[in-house]
Symmetry: C2
Subunit: 281 residues, 2 copies
């Protein structure tokens, strides 16, 4: 497995593979891998001849006061894990390599990026779409893999790639969970044991929402209210949002007709966690 | 020569050429060709195996009250001219093909796009960079050609391609002028005979600026003032701006040390014309 730090080196290796007719899969990550990341890499391994994993903690998707500096980093551990699942290239550029002096261009999806996490993290999705577009242009993958835990991110990236005619297939993969239901996230490492227990309220509240729908509660307002009440029973939890939206447009629903996305962001202590589920009637 | 209207058809033809190892040159245009456009096509013909000219009047780069509807269009004439200079493919998509329902993504260069025309045409360069990025992704050219008459546009596109790691060489070509000095522009067709004569004030004022610099006037403020006075002697002319800037950063200069860009936008009647020149000491 190769670990390369410059765009030029990565391009040379990838261009060579493409010349040989190899298909290319990209898994963009911020590192500190868990089973969620590995599931993306395994799928990329099944689908493609060359598997590229980018590992870059992207400063422009963090707001002021967010955890850019504290975000966990461990290249050696990540490289071992990537090699074990058969990754061919880990692309690990520096901030200066990605955003050299004078850098001044941003790609943004407007409407889809406004609600949910976009409302709480201004500029976040602009940072995400910009870095992902750069990675698409550097790697020129046939397929790129993203987890559905970051559901809005997936939708925003799909939109960006489609709108800008990027010739890549964007593939969303299921959220991977701990045995007790907690969605895997690199940020789970911030949780102390008591917070780790409290964090279960996210996945439990999603299950509770489906139970309520099964019982006939199809008003989004009512469902949202009862899920919020459920989450507030956990003293360590503070709600950023609970929203029930159309899974494609991310627009708020009044009534759940067929299916809906329930998405939530909850702070457990100082750690902001997100989770989501498709509710089906 | 092929004339294709859908992205899919254009991609099929271009992908086939690329598979054969052909190099690809792109000339993005809004049509209504003049010698300026043709000079770009001829250079593309010299440099590449396959020459693609896009012909698309891009609505998102026009502001409210600008001339999107009136902008001259003549596909038959353009196709004949392109064929004569050896273009292989004219790509002429509809607005719906480029911006289908739900379209929502924009690529923007921030600082370089703020001054000069950017200050007078809010959103203009965002529209330009977005459509050019789409064309880059559709055509995936090795080289793309732009005229230096739209100097700020060229700089903004260079910045966008570099920042977003688009693997294309952006090539700027000299402004082509009428025998009397008027920079060629599709918008010159709006001018009536009296305005056509008055429009000469743009190129003459650039020459006047260089004469002043030769005489030792190196203060940008003084030079700008005298050029503005010169232009105001033409009763049909109304100045949008006269600016003297660093040719790379487009930042305003106080003194011309070595070289500078003088850029101007002047309305002749209702027709807004631009021109520029590099001033050298």
């Amino acid at each position: 497995m190769h670990i390369l730090h410059t765009i030029r080196e990565a391009r040379d290796l990838i261009t060579h593979a493409r010349t040989e007719g190899k298909s290319i899969g990209l898994v963009p990550t911020m590192g500190y891998f868990h089973e969620g990341h590995l599931s993306l890499m395994r799928q990329a391994r099944r689908d493609n001849d060359l598997v590229v994993v980018s590992l870059f903690v992207n400063p422009i998707q963090f707001g002021p006061g967010e955890d850019f500096r504290e975000y966990p980093r461990d290249l050696d551990r990540d490289a071992r894990m990537a090699e074990e699942v058969g990754v061919d290239l880990v692309f690990n550029p520096s901030v200066e390599e990605m955003y050299p002096e004078g850098y001044n261009t941003y790609a943004a999806v407007e409407k889809l990026a406004e609600g949910l996490c976009g409302a709480f993290r201004p500029g976040h999705f602009r940072g995400v779409t910009t870095v992902v577009l750069k990675l698409f242009n550097i790697v020129q993958p046939d397929r790129a893999y993203f987890g559905r835990k970051d559901y809005q991110q997936l939708k925003v990236i799909e939109r960006m790639a489609k709108d800008l005619n990027v010739p890549v297939e964007v593939i969303g993969m299921p959220t991977v969970r701990e045995p007790d239901g907690l969605a895997m996230s690199s940020r789970n490492m911030y949780l102390d044991p008591e917070e780790r227990r409290a964090a279960l309220v996210l996945s439990k509240s999603l299950k509770y929402a489906q139970d309520l729908l099964n019982e006939g509660v199809s008003s989004a307002k009512e469902l949202k209210k009862r899920v919020e009440t459920f989450i507030r029973q956990e003293p360590l939890a503070r709600i950023d949002y609970v929203e029930i939206v159309n899974p494609d447009t991310l627009e708020r629903l009044e009534t759940i007709e067929d299916k809906a996305l329930i998405a939530l962001a909850v702070k457990i202590g100082v750690t902001r966690l997100i989770d989501n589920a498709i509710l089906t009637r």
